[in-house]
Amino acid sequence: MEWSHFIYFSLPAVACWSIGAAMAYRPNKSGLVLLWTILGLAIFMAFIVGMWLSLERPPLRTMGETRLWYSFFLPVAGIITYIRWRYKWILSFSTVLSFVFICINIFKPEIHNKTLMPALQSPWFAPHVIVYMFAYAMLGAAAVVAIYLLVRSRKTAIDPNVMSLCDNLVYVGTAFLTIGMLFGALWAKEAWGHYWGWDPKETWAAATWLGNLLYIHFRLHRHTRYKAALGLLVFAFLLLQVCWFGVNYLPSAQGNSVHVYNME
C-alpha cells in the first residue's frame, strides 16, 4: 500500500459517508445511516491498516499521517453524536470536514518513509497520537458549529439545544485531550526522563487544555451568555491549531522541540 493508492480508498469512503449523511435526513433510516457510515469507515481503515503494514510502523509520524487519522475520526465523532443525540445535519458536516482533510492529503502529500526514530518506538506512541486525533476531531467539530452559530446569530437566535451539543462535544473532546496529554506524560517519563518538560508543543498543549477548561467553567457560570462562550470555544480551537501544526512554524519553537519530526 502506498500513498498513490489513497485516492482509491478515500473517495469511495467519502461516497459512503455522503450516502449515510443523506439518509440521515429521511425518517426512520437510522439503520442505513449507520451501515453506510461504517462501510465508509471500514474502507478508510483498510487503507490505514495497509499503510501500517507496508511502513512496518504505525502511520502517525508525519503531519500527513496525522491528517489521515483526523479524516477517519471526524465521521466516527459524527456517527457517535448522531446515535446519541440524533442531529440530522451532523453527518453531512463531519463528511465535508473529513473531505477537506482528505483533499489536502491527495493534493499535497508529504514524503513518507519507513524510518521511525528510536524515541518514537514505544507502546505509548499509537495511543498518545490516536487519542489526541480523536480529541482534535471532536473539538474541531465543536469549533465549526460555534463559528456557524456565531455567523448566523445576527439573523436568528442561538438554539439552546445546539449549545448543549457544543457542550457535549467539548466535554468528550476535553476528556480525550486530557487522556492524550497524560499518556504523553507517562511516555515522556519512560523516554525522556521526565513527565513534563515545557517543550513548545507541551506548552501549547497546556494552553489548549486550559482554553477548553475555561469554556467548560464559563458555561457553568454564565449559562445564557452564548456568544461569549462560543467565542471562547473558537479561541480554544485556535490554540489547538498552534499546538497541532503551528509549532512547526513558530520561531520560538525552532530547534528545541522533541515533537518536530517531519522536518527532513
Binding site: K88, I111, V172, G193, V242
Partner: protein, 423 residues
C-alpha cells in the same frame, strides 16, 4: 468594586495585582531561585500549605468574603490569568531555567524567557493552585457519590501540580559517560558539577541498529535535497534493487553494509570490511528517462575513517547517501550498587533501567564515531515524588473517563435528544 459579593472585576483585579507584584519582584530580585527548596523543606512547606488551605476553608464558613475564592468566578479568572502566561511562554523562545540570560531586553527583564522560574508565573500558578485546592477541599468536605468525577478531576490535578512543583527541588538529573574500559560511578549535573553516585555502571557493549541506506538527489551548488520543498528519496532495503528518483531510474547491483574504501590515483572501489570504522556503500547505475544518459559508480555515506562518496548525475545534480538513520540504540551494562548488588541489563531508548530509586536512560554516545562508539552516555534520574504525581495522574485519567461516559448524558443532552424531533 470590592463590595460583596465579589465578581469578575475583583477576580481580574487580584490577577493583575499578583502579576504586577511578580513583575516588581522579578525586576528587583531576579528569577525565582529554588535550589535550596529540597527535602525536608519542600515537604514541610507542602504540609503547611495544605493546612493553610484547609484553615481558609474552615474560616470561610464564617467569613463570607473568603467564599469567593472557591467560586466559579475565582476559578475562571485565575485559570485565565495563568493561561495567558502559558501562551506568552509559547510565543517566547525559552532558555533553560539554570541559564543566565543576558539578552532579550524587556522580555528577559520580565522573566518571560525563563517563564517557569519567573515571579509572575510562580505567583499566578500558586493562585490558580490555591483556588483549585479550595474548590477540591470544599467538594470533599461535603462528599457525595455523584461528585466522584468532579473530585477525581480536581483533586487529581491538584495533587499532580503540587507534587510536581514541590518535588522539583528533589529531582536529580545527571549525565554519565560509561566506557568499555571499566566501571564508572561519577556523573555530572546540569551545571557540570561532578557528583559521586551510590552505583557504578560498566559498559559491556554498545550497538546501533540502522535503517537501510537511503539515496537522494541534491543540488550541487546549494547542497539541498531535491525537489526543494518536498525532497524525495529511495530506501534501498536489499540488492539488487531498482527504483526511481526525479527523472532517473536507479538500479543498485551491489550493497555492502560494512565496507572499506580502497582508493588509488584514478580508481575508487569498496570492499567488504567487518571491523571498526566500516561504512556503507552501494554500487548504483542511474539512467535518465528524458535524455538517456547513464551514470554509474559507488555511493557511500562515509564514516570517521572513510570519506563520503557521491555520484555526479549532471553538472547540477548529484546522487548521495545521507547518514543512515538509527533504528535502535542499546547498551549492555553491568550495574553495581554500594550494597553489593550486581545486575546485568540492556538499556535502550524507551526502555530505562530502574535501580535503587534511580532510572537509567540511554541518552547518547560518541557521535563522532557513530555505531563504532566505545562509550555510551546515560541519563540518571531520581524523582522521589514520582509516585505522588502518578497518583494524581491516575485520578485524572479516571476522571476523564467519567467525563466522557457521564457528562454527555446530562439533562441538556436528553432535552436536546427529545427536541430534535421538532427541530
Amino acid at each position: 468594586m470590592w463590595k460583596q459579593p465579589w465578581g469578575y472585576t475583583e477576580g481580574w483585579a487580584i490577577s493583575i495585582g499578583l502579576f504586577i507584584t511578580g513583575v516588581v519582584l522579578q525586576l528587583t530580585t531576579g528569577k525565582v531561585d529554588a535550589t535550596l527548596f529540597q527535602y525536608p523543606l519542600n515537604a514541610l512547606t507542602g504540609g503547611v500549605y495544605l493546612f493553610f488551605l484547609i484553615m481558609v476553608y474552615v474560616v470561610s464558613r464564617k467569613a463570607v468574603a473568603l467564599q469567593w475564592f472557591y467560586s466559579l468566578t475565582a476559578s475562571i479568572t485565575s485559570l485565565t490569568a495563568w493561561m495567558v502566561l502559558v501562551i506568552i511562554m509559547g510565543l517566547t523562545r525559552q532558555m533553560a531555567p539554570s541559564a543566565t540570560v543576558t539578552h532579550g531586553g524587556l522580555l528577559s527583564g520580565l522573566g518571560f524567557m525563563q517563564m517557569t522560574v519567573s515571579w509572575p508565573f510562580m505567583l499566578l500558578f500558586f493562585y490558580f493552585l490555591s483556588v483549585l485546592g479550595l474548590v477540591t477541599i470544599r467538594k470533599i468536605s461535603r462528599f457525595c457519590w455523584k461528585d466522584t468525577p468532579f473530585i477525581l478531576n480536581h483533586a487529581g490535578l491538584f495533587i499532580t501540580l503540587l507534587a510536581a512543583i514541590l518535588g522539583n527541588g528533589d529531582l536529580q538529573r545527571l549525565r554519565m559517560t560509561a566506557s568499555l574500559d571499566g566501571p564508572e560511578w561519577r556523573a555530572t549535573d546540569e551545571t557540570g558539577e561532578m557528583v559521586e553516585l551510590p552505583l557504578a555502571i560498566e559498559l559491556k557493549s554498545f550497538t546501533i541498529d540502522e535503517y537501510p541506506p537511503k539515496l537522494l538527489a541534491i543540488d550541487n551548488t546549494t547542497g539541498k535535497a531535491l525537489p526543494e520543498n518536498n525532497p524525495e528519496n529511495v530506501l534501498v532495503e536489499n540488492a539488487p534493487f531498482s527504483g526511481c528518483l526525479l527523472d532517473w531510474d536507479i538500479e543498485v547491483s551491489h550493497s555492502l553494509p560494512l565496507a572499506a574504501c580502497v582508493r588509488s590515483i584514478d580508481t575508487l572501489n569498496f570492499v567488504a570490511f567487518h571491523s571498526e570504522g566500516a561504512t556503507t556503500a552501494l554500487m548504483v547505475k542511474a539512467r535518465n528517462r528524458v535524455d538517456g544518459t547513464e551514470k554509474s559508480g559507488w555511493v557511500s555515506c562515509g564514516s570517521f575513517m572513510f570519506p563520503y562518496v557521491s555520484l555526479p548525475l549532471s553538472d547540477s545534480v548529484s546522487l548521495v547517501m545521507p547518514e543512515r538513520e538509527p533504528k535502535r540504540f542499546a547498551s549492555e551494562v553491568t550495574v553495581y550498587t554500594k550494597s553489593g548488588e550486581r545486575a546485568d541489563a540492556l538499556i535502550e531508548v524507551n526502555k530505562p533501567l530502574s535501580m535503587e530509586g534511580w532510572k537509567i536512560y540511554q541518552l547518547s554516545y560518541d557521535e563522532t564515531k557513530g555505531k563504532w562508539s566505545r562509550t555510551s552516555i546515560f541519563e540518571l534520574v531520581r524523582d522521589p515524588w514520582l509516585p505522588v504525581v502518578y497518583i494524581g495522574i491516575l485520578m485524572m485519567l479516571l476522571g476523564s473517563v467519567c467525563l466522557f461516559v457521564l457528562a454527555p448524558g446530562n439533562k441538556q443532552g436528553k432535552t436536546a435528544a427529545n427536541d430534535t424531533k421538532t427541530v
